[in-house]
């Protein structure tokens, strides 16, 4: 057991000390004297959230398979501990060794959502590492960013030495080998970063220059040196079946959000919803073979002792061997004290049958994500879910004994009209009416309960909606009010509940998602004025952000309110995500024409992902 970085006195006065002591089952402790490369793998949010993240577990496992590398975990200290660490100048430490990460070779952070950007700075600050990459010296760790937010890394470009664009499985080994060699040869930080920039998928922001037009849009984005690539190609692992996967995941002591075995069944999605970034950047869809998944299920349940197993992917119903896998899990593990937690599946006879086996029907609910209330708007966003399909699924479920339905929508989608907004409660009302028609009074288990949740749409890079403008916070709230008022006017309003998301956060997410390098100073300003944990509503302070944008002379409307012209150069255009800008533009126009594009299995739409030579693009073509 390592000597803890925090004293008993500190640990006894903070919330959940187990967040900071390491020692969890399957965590990896090595003899540091045999190690060449030390990596801090950071999720810039609290332990309870970060420990649930699958990507980190995969990379932790992969890095620690190397004998010369020791990868440790770091999560954001909660504000109670943050204050103590600042006051007593305690440097941020890795959970496994309990040693300061400022002495490590790399600090690698996964960036899962924009609202964690101030927490990135908290990590660097507590680590006692300069916040700006330009101020780091030979003895400072190299700070890496990865994860979905790096598909537009520009707003946080000043804080990172480099970004790894794409899936981590492919390039880290080569990168570490090269680093070790160069380090042994006495290469400088600058030389190492220059060499890293030449590895496919690695983006070193300091080696690129951006110039702007008078209207504030980008004129040119160019490498500073001739040997530095102009575009950065997304990295992707083509054979998911044989690729590395943690067979012995870490088992936390405290309850975390994913307190279970997680089986990743596929990556990517065949659907092509026009608002969805994950659906584009993880293309092409690639499946993990069902036999490998069965083997993993055994091994992971055995090595962790978890009482629950769940499946992870986008649109799980599209996994071609789902029925075989779910049937196997139920037959093999259900009734042996292991719960099978199903992802939200398309509601049909099969899913209702398995749900009935593994859930308490009286307590569980059906989930539909129509995303838009009207068929017109669903065509705009290319969500191929029709009212008939929803009502048919709900009807079958009601007959099967369910009476709770959750419906997820977005407000503020491009082209949205008042009719589209009103269609949301109308759909909920129709579902409620169907319940009362379908289920005779004597068989009802009380009223049916329909919960509508709406979030406000944020256009993301690498989606067909990357050109779309947003609305003001007041306008978002006005739209939520229309929905709310319409809910109250419905015949079955007593069976319908409505929740909506906060509007201020939405606008800020919009700024950070599609912003450029000039935003870094505003993020720095917010952190330096005490703002962090913005993903937590109890800590989020919108006024700090407004103050920061004013102080830095940033007009946020430039990033959010404009419908961007077709030919605008975006801050993220230098990334080649496989899916081409031409395809996305075509889809943006299709959206305006309310024209649906079929999914990848129905017909190839030529998005560009075929260049990766595998996955769904080549299905049935051996």
């Amino acid at each position: 057991m390592a000597k803890l970085a925090l004293s008993d006195e500190i640990l006894m006065q903070i919330e959940k000390p187990a967040r900071y002591i390491g020692n969890e089952l399957n965590s990896i402790v090595k003899d540091k004297n045999t190690i060449d490369i030390r990596v801090a793998m950071v999720f810039p949010d609290v332990y309870d959230i970060g420990m649930s993240h699958l990507g980190i577990q995969i990379l932790y496992d992969m890095f620690n398979r190397r004998e010369d590398t020791w990868c440790e975990r770091v999560y954001s200290p909660w504000p109670d501990l943050h204050a103590i660490m600042k006051e007593k100048k305690i440097p941020l430490f890795g959970l496994e060794s309990q040693e300061p990460i400022k002495n490590f070779d790399f600090i690698a952070m996964t960036l899962q959502y924009e609202m964690c950007y101030t927490n990135v700075l908290q990590i660097l600050d507590l680590a006692q590492t300069p916040l700006l990459a330009s101020e780091r010296g030979e003895d400072d760790p190299i700070v890496i960013g990865g994860g979905p937010c790096t598909y537009n890394p520009e707003p946080i470009a000043d804080f990172f030495d480099f970004f790894y664009i794409g899936e981590g499985e492919t390039q880290y080994d080569a990168l570490f080998d090269m680093y070790k060699q160069m380090k042994n040869d006495g290469a400088s930080r600058k030389e190492i970063l220059h060499a890293i920039a030449k590895i496919e998928g690695m983006y070193v922001p300091s080696l690129y220059e951006v110039s702007y037009k008078e209207d504030g849009t980008i004129a040119a984005f160019t490498p500073k040196y001739e040997d530095i690539p102009k575009t950065i190609k997304k990295q992707i692992v083509m054979d998911l079946t044989t690729s590395v996967y943690p067979e012995k995941p870490i088992v936390p002591f405290i309850k975390v959000t994913q307190d279970r075995v997680v089986l990743e069944i596929q990556r990517g999605c065949i659907r092509g919803c026009r608002f969805c970034q994950a659906g584009m950047i993880y293309r092409p869809n690639r499946e993990k073979d069902v036999e490998r998944l069965k083997d993993l299920a055994y091994k992971m349940l055995k090595s962790t002792g978890h009482e629950e197993i769940s499946l992870s992917s986008l649109s799980s119903s599209d996994y071609s061997q789902l029925e075989e896998l779910v049937t196997f899990l139920i037959d093999e593990f259900h009734g042996k004290g292991v719960n099978i937690s199903l992802p939200s599946l398309r509601i049909d006879a099969f899913s209702l049958d398995v749900m009935g086996k593994v859930q308490d029907i009286k307590k569980s609910s059906l989930t539909f994500a129509p995303e838009a209330g009207s068929q017109r708007l669903r065509d705009v966003i290319n969500k191929g879910l029709t009212k008939e399909v929803i009502l048919n699924g709900a009807g079958q479920a009601f007959e099967g004994g369910w009476n709770k339905v959750k419906l997820y929508f977005m407000l503020g989608l491009p082209t949205e009209t008042e009719e589209d907004m009103k269609a949301i409660p109308e759909l909920a009302n129709d579902i409620a009416a169907l319940y009362y028609e379908t289920v005779p009074k004597e068989q009802r288990n009380g009223k049916c309960q329909i919960t509508i949740s709406t979030s406000f749409f944020v256009p993301k890079p690498f989606t067909p909606f990357q050109w779309a403008g947003m609305q003001t916070p007041d306008e978002y709230l006005r739209r939520a009010k229309i929905v709310n008022d319409t809910v109250k006017a419905q015949l079955n309003h007593k069976s319908i509940r409505y929740n909506w998301h906060e509007a201020d956060v939405t606008v800020l997410e919009g700024v950070l998602a599609r912003g450029d390098r000039r935003l870094s100073k505003a993020i720095l300003y917010v952190y330096e004025h005490g703002g962090f944990f913005d993903a937590w509503s109890e800590f989020f302070d919108y006024s700090k952000w407004i103050e920061a944008f004013e102080a830095c002379g940033i007009d946020t409307d430039f990033y959010t309110m404009r419908n961007r012209p077709d030919d605008e150069i975006f801050p993220w255009d230098f990334i080649d995500a496989g899916v081409t800008k031409e395809f996305m533009l075509r889809e943006w126009h299709n959206a305006q024409n309310e024209k649906v594009t079929p999914n990848c299995r129905m017909r190839c739409s030529g998005c560009g992902a075929k260049q990766f030579n595998g996955g769904v693009c080549f299905e049935g073509q051996n």
Binding site: M1, A18, N23, F253, G305, E307, G337, K363
Partner: protein, 240 residues
């Protein structure tokens, strides 16, 4: 079949709270292939109960949980299987079969004994000899030792003397420590720091909870007027 498991909890594991220890053991039972019984229903849970929850920050050589199993390997094999899958800081030290009529550990706990010592870097206040004299004066020579015990709802006066079964100073002259055996369980649950802090108060000393490491030695039930260790109420399983 009822089984009682004894374990040690030490090192950094003292920061893991009672509920998290329960979750830890539920998973450990599966990893070690203990043939534990589950309740009925949609979310079956293991038949498992703990003796006397240990507070965060306290280490122990005598923690207990009772489980029900369909079948069991020998005590030796079961302990080995469990210890194979423990984290540093938790060690299984006993695994015995209880009579079918046995009550749960939780319901029969009557006493526990503790060693309270000074953590590194904190002043010990007095030498061992001085402490012995102090205890005589403020505790043993008094007819009663009345303190105010705070409960969730109210405060009440309580005489600790009949609830303290043993109290002595041990350790070296320079590094003294306190041995305390006292009433524990559902009726008169007295925490050792309550006694020590009350003694400090009676001696006019300022009590600093951060200075003291509390360690539990063992937990006892009462049988015919004597205390017996919870482990001694079961029998070793010899054959699978």
């Amino acid at each position: 079949m009822k089984v009682r498991i004894k374990f040690r909890k030490y090192g950094v594991m003292k920061f893991i709270g009672h509920l998290d220890m329960m979750r830890y053991f539920q998973k450990a039972m599966r990893r070690a292939d203990i043939d534990i019984c589950y309740s009925e229903g949609f979310s079956p849970h293991q038949i498992m109960s703990f003796a006397a929850p240990l507070g965060v920050g306290i280490t122990s050589d005598g923690e207990y949980l009772d489980i029900e199993v369909h079948s069991s390997k020998s005590s030796k094999e079961s302990m080995a299987a469990l210890n194979q899958t423990m984290v540093p800081g938790v060690e299984i030290s006993g695994y015995v079969r209880l009579p079918d009529s046995a009550k749960t550990a939780m319901s029969i706990v009557a006493a526990a004994d503790y060693v309270l010592s000074y953590k590194e870097g904190y002043p010990v206040m007095h030498t061992r000899t001085e402490w012995e004299a102090l205890l005589q004066e403020v505790f043993f020579e008094q007819p009663s030792f009345v303190i105010m015990k705070k409960t969730k709802k109210s405060e009440k006066e309580i005489d600790l003397k009949p609830l303290i079964y043993d109290l002595k100073v041990q350790g070296t002259e320079e590094q003294p420590e306190f041995y305390i055996k006292l009433s524990t369980g559902s009726t008169d649950n007295i925490k050792p720091e309550l006694l020590l802090s009350s003694i400090y108060a009676a001696a006019g000393l300022e009590y600093d909870a951060n200075a003291i490491q509390i360690h539990r030695n063992d937990v006892y039930a009462e049988e015919d007027g004597t205390f017996i260790s919870l482990l001694d109420m079961g029998e070793e399983i010899l054959n699978s």
